[in-house]
Point group: C2
Chain length 401, copies 2
């Protein structure tokens, strides 16, 4: 494979965009230059010369001399337009936009196939951890049974601050935002959506099934209180927002929600803005990857690694997806492989018994009432938890036991 | 890239060879068949049909219909002959033989370049952890500053058993051997040579320098006693055999020796036969990879992953090595980049003061004498420790502080 010198068009110059700029400037061997950066706000002060910037996306999308488009903006609808237009033109794209990817995966996959073009996105899941590429390349013939991860640096930062520094939720969230770890809309982080989007990407590369965000349960940490942290601490546990996709029979259980983890877990010691991913296979056993999950430079460095891969004509092979298609002789209805019909043991903190309405409780194992707080530990029907997803009214905190 | 169905010739059917056989048989998607297995012992009972076996290496090396040769034997001189002959013929090779690779790296690299052929060896370092390929592909433009790892499953198993189960060294070593974690000659494990060979491979892929085993210090755990474990425990530390290669100025400090590690270290909780590797870069910060470092199936699974990569025409790009060569306009004298001239703080347990002869002590920080054991904690000239490498007479236990 020959290495070529490549010209980049960049969309977005926020946290990750600036991180990429720094990392690229200090990279020793990569033959890549940023030709133009498309941004929205004409009045914002920027740390590099104005000649690099444009406010018209056609300056990049219409420029036929660019080799790679790097999409690092916030708005997922705009991002989808940019990425799909670039792919349709046959231009390789690097993105870190997990929302856009998860919401449009099927169509983006088809565009890549149709135009024989590469869309790569290591920076969109697991921060600086090279998890997408490892799932794609290294575990491609491994009988994977489970992938489990702590994928949101912002939530992990909040949970760590709360536990180790006795900080309240609001203050910890504010600090995460000030440190540049949180998304511009913190709701996507704390309600579990960011974790959900990343989980959907990892499920494609681990198991070859494309799930839609609306099919998968995601619960967040937005309602957590000190009572929950104290409950966990007393039992020697920590609360972590964990995404999981694991095989049970022929189907997959895929969801993101807070979990209690004990000291024996490799994820127990993954603290602050770090991410951690555990991959379990029949033969390689369990492997754990830990690294910075948020921040300008770590994510910029993952994006740089993708750009570098393109200089060697890398693209995802989607081997497991294709194997599924080959096995099922055509497009696979992934929903058929998703199992949402099982019981799960959860801790639920609540104010009034009425708040639990809608949750199908099978059996209660613990029940605690006091003037200050109430909780139950119960086996519930997993499916019945869906009404809590993105529910801004409910104040329940639900955590898998 | 097109995928092709490949035919394998296998040398060796020991622990890893049998592991590969199992993993290959249960792999869903890989298009590869073992055509022949070359073994030495005609009388040994084997778990598969005799038609697979040959006792004549020419049956494999002389067979022009094989696509890949997988070399998994013990003897490194024989392995080198097999591998270099295959490469010279233009046949791709997968190996897990770190000793053979480390001892012959320069010539094996040249053979690959000359014959445009692939030699890949993920199973030779870090067990099931995909560290070689990540260093090669993912970190290729990252300004790496340090790589640090616990690379020998057998030593880690022994140290963990000693500490957590109050087992003595001899018994723990015996158990490691019975579990199939130790090399056939345990001296290579416990004296640090196995770790040294792996370190040399990682140094190539992390920093682009080819060091020779004799240039690099390796000290082992063969002299460890309960007194050392107790000393560490009292201070909340664990003893781990750690390989490190890190940049100091323009040079690299590269060595393998026991280290005290504290609870804050990601390597602290890497227990039993697990391996752990920490990679540190200027922008991606620290990333940790943990997984099984020994055992038939985990290593077999790493070998399988290499075979699978060959079906997609993968080969190492040796990007950092080539960058070094380009920068220095030709072959690089790697020894020039190795820094063995510094001071290091170590704990040394000894019986008689005379045993310390040869070690250049700069300053002593702690000194303990008793009827049972003596130790010092001292700053010493690193270079002066070389006489302890592979020294079967010395009973000193040396551990970096």
């Amino acid at each position: 494979m020959t290495e070529k010198h490549i010209k980049l068009g960049l969309f977005g110059f926020g946290c990750v965009g600036q991180g990429l700029y720094d990392v690229l400037n200090h990279s020793e061997g990569l033959k890549a230059d940023i030709e133009k950066i498309c941004v929205k706000d004409k009045n914002k002060k920027r740390k590099i010369a104005s000649k690099y910037f444009t406010y018209d996306k056609e300056d990049i999308l219409g420029n036929n001399k660019l080799d790679v488009i790097v999409e690092l903006i916030d708005n997922s609808a705009d991002a989808y337009e940019i990425v799909s237009r670039a792919l349709s033109k046959g231009v390789n794209v690097v993105t870190a936009n997990k929302k856009m990817l998860a919401e449009n995966f099927e169509s983006l996959y088809q565009l890549q196939e149709k135009n024989n073009v590469a869309l790569i996105y290591e920076g969109s899941a697991g921060g600086s951890i090279p998890i997408v590429r490892n799932l794609e390349e290294y575990y491609d013939n491994e009988l994977l049974s489970s992938i489990r991860g702590l994928l949101n640096g912002s939530c992990n930062y909040i949970l760590t601050r709360m536990e180790l520094e006795n900080m309240d939720y609001g203050k910890a969230l504010k600090m995460a935002q000030e440190s540049g770890f949180a998304e511009s809309d913190p709701w996507l982080d704390v309600a579990g959506y960011d974790t959900l989007y990343k989980l959907i990407l990892l499920t494609v590369h681990a198991f070859g099934i494309i799930l839609k965000p609306e099919q998968v349960l995601a619960l967040g940490i937005q309602n957590i209180t000190f009572d929950d942290i104290t409950y966990a601490k007393e039992k020697g546990l920590r609360i972590k927002l964990i995404a999981t996709a694991h095989k049970v029979g022929d189907k997959f259980r895929v969801y993101a929600m807070p979990h209690f983890v004990n000291k024996e877990s490799d994820l127990y010691n993954v603290l602050y803005e770090n991410n951690g991913v555990e991959v379990e296979g029949a033969y390689s056993c369990k492997q754990t990857f830990v690294g910075k999950g948020a921040g300008s430079h770590p994510t910029g460095s993952a994006v740089l690694s993708d750009i570098s891969a393109l200089t060697y004509q890398y693209k995802y092979g989607y081997k497991k997806l294709k194997k599924m298609e080959a096995y099922h002789k055509g497009k696979v209805d992934s929903a058929k492989f998703l199992d949402n019909d099982f019981e799960i043991k959860v801790y639920i903190r609540f104010s009034h018994k009425d708040d639990l309405k809608g949750i199908e409780v099978v059996s209660i194992e613990e029940e605690f009432k006091s003037a200050k707080t109430n909780y139950i530990v119960a086996n519930v029907k997993f499916k019945s938890l869906f009404f809590l997803k993105g529910n801004r009214d409910s104040k329940l905190f639900v955590c898998a036991v």
